[in-house]
């Protein structure tokens, strides 16, 4: 469960597709349903693209929140000074690739990330007295009995049977819309939680750290996954399997293309 098989460069496209049919994650499924060609470029051809600034910021923020939650779990909460040092270290970590920063951009983004964390932690959204049930834990669920692939994922934080997911965002999320737009992810997490604990989640929370001039935290609380939502997810996974089987990698032009890193490759598709 805790080892991820490294993909060998010699693997044939069919091998890659077979592996993708055997295992699915919320992000893979979401991307496939958003644009199959983008999915193909990222997960089948594995085209490399430069790391984005917002991804770098998100990773650094996430690393600090993980450290914060782990520390309070063992009742050794981090001081703000240690949190800042952790952030500095996380920011300097380029093991996943470097960002091609514009002049002055890195310092501005680094400050933004720190202000997000500072706001989040000062507002005490995670009281030290409440111990987590899990922090950034990789889990999987065998859905073979449903004729579906193995579902994998990582739960950011589980606390009092609530599944909590962190997101950094440039805009303030709308509660009604975000429950819909994140449904694949939240329902995947609910299934993972149920399969791995034998219990039903108490609910889910999305903690958005919003990158505004004055940073703010928006917490969206969602109820446990309903049977209808579970069925929807299973049907979406069926479509994923069938699409891979047919090699149905067609482009889906739309608003989302404006930020797509494969825009140029897509234009050449025929």
């Amino acid at each position: 469960m805790n080892t991820l098989a490294a993909s060998s460069p010699e693997r044939s496209e069919q091998d890659v597709l077979t592996a993708l049919q055997a295992t699915v994650s919320a992000s893979r499924l979401s991307l496939f349903l958003q644009c199959r060609l983008k999915f193909y470029f990222r997960y089948v051809l594995k085209l490399k693209k430069p790391k984005t600034a917002s991804l770098h910021l998100g990773n650094a923020v996430h690393a600090v929140l993980k450290a914060w939650n782990k520390a309070r779990w063992v009742q050794q909460p981090l001081s703000l000074k240690v949190v800042h040092e952790t952030y500095q270290t996380a920011w300097a970590d380029n093991t996943e690739g470097s960002v091609a920063w514009e002049p002055g951009e890195e310092e501005a983004d680094k400050t933004t990330g720190w202000r997000l964390l500072d706001t989040y932690l000062r507002e005490s959204h995670l009281p030290a007295a409440i111990k987590p049930d899990a922090v950034e834990v990789p889990v999987e669920a065998d859905l073979q009995q449903h004729g579906l692939p193995r579902l994998i994922g990582i739960l950011d934080l589980v606390q009092q049977r609530q599944i909590i997911d962190y997101k950094t965002s440039a805009t303030t999320p709308n509660a009604d819309k975000v429950s819909h737009t994140t449904e694949i992810q939240t329902c995947s997490y609910a299934i993972l939680y149920r399969h791995n604990t034998g219990a039903q989640e108490a609910g889910m929370q999305l903690h958005h750290l919003v990158k505004l001039k004055n940073p703010k935290v928006v917490i969206t609380t969602l109820p446990p996954m309903s049977p209808g939502q579970e069925t929807r997810l299973f049907r979406q996974m069926e479509a994923y399997l069938e699409g891979l089987q047919r090699r149905d990698f067609i482009p889906s032009p739309g608003m989302h293309c404006s930020s797509c890193e494969f825009f140029n490759e897509c234009r050449l598709w025929s």
Partner: protein
């Protein structure tokens, strides 16, 4: 001519004090074509099984040794039904040697202990108690996965950063 397909799914579970409860769900659909039968049966079976499984987890009134089903009701059960074995009867008391996690997780934990002199069984047990307040063998799958992550960190072999954080949309970045 329309073809009628009836499907029924029934499940009976054992409960304490030799009692049991059962639930069944039925559905009838019309098909236009006989070739739809196989796919429709598969879909209905999955739907009915999920629905029955979802509901049957609430056992409601459960007799205790004192009530044997005829006097005052037992306290309301929360969560899932009592664990049952394959024959539908209550499971035997937990075996002290039985692990709750998967065989793979058990093997992984034991391998970390065997291959890292600094991580003894006692270290693993103490970490489990510190995090979850229970022993290693009692950990569920999620807890075992967490323990493995933390033992690997202790061993100086943290798992590589997960690829989930790569290539997310830019306007709603996962942190």
């Amino acid at each position: 001519m329309a073809i009628k397909l009836s499907a029924n799914y029934s499940k009976k579970l054992g409960l304490p004090q030799y009692s049991s409860h059962s639930f069944s769900a039925s559905v009838e659909v019309e098909l236009n074509d006989i070739t739809q039968v196989e796919a429709e049966v598969q879909k209905l079976y999955q739907l009915l099984q999920q629905s029955v499984d979802q509901e049957i987890q609430q056992p409601g009134f459960v007799p205790t040794a004192n009530t044997n089903g005829n006097s005052r009701p037992a306290p309301q059960q929360k969560g899932r039904a009592q664990p049952v074995n394959g024959s539908g009867h209550p499971s035997a008391p937990p075996n002290a040697d039985r692990w709750n996690c998967t065989d793979g997780q058990r093997g992984f934990i034991l391998r970390i202990v065997n291959e890292n002199p600094g991580i003894t069984k006692q270290v693993a047990e103490e970490l489990s108690q510190q995090l979850f307040g229970i022993g290693v063998k009692q950990l569920n799958k999620m807890q075992a996965s967490q323990l493995i992550e933390d033992l690997l960190v202790l061993a100086g072999k943290p798992t590589p950063r997960q690829t989930r954080w790569q290539q997310q949309p830019t306007n709603a970045q996962a942190a």
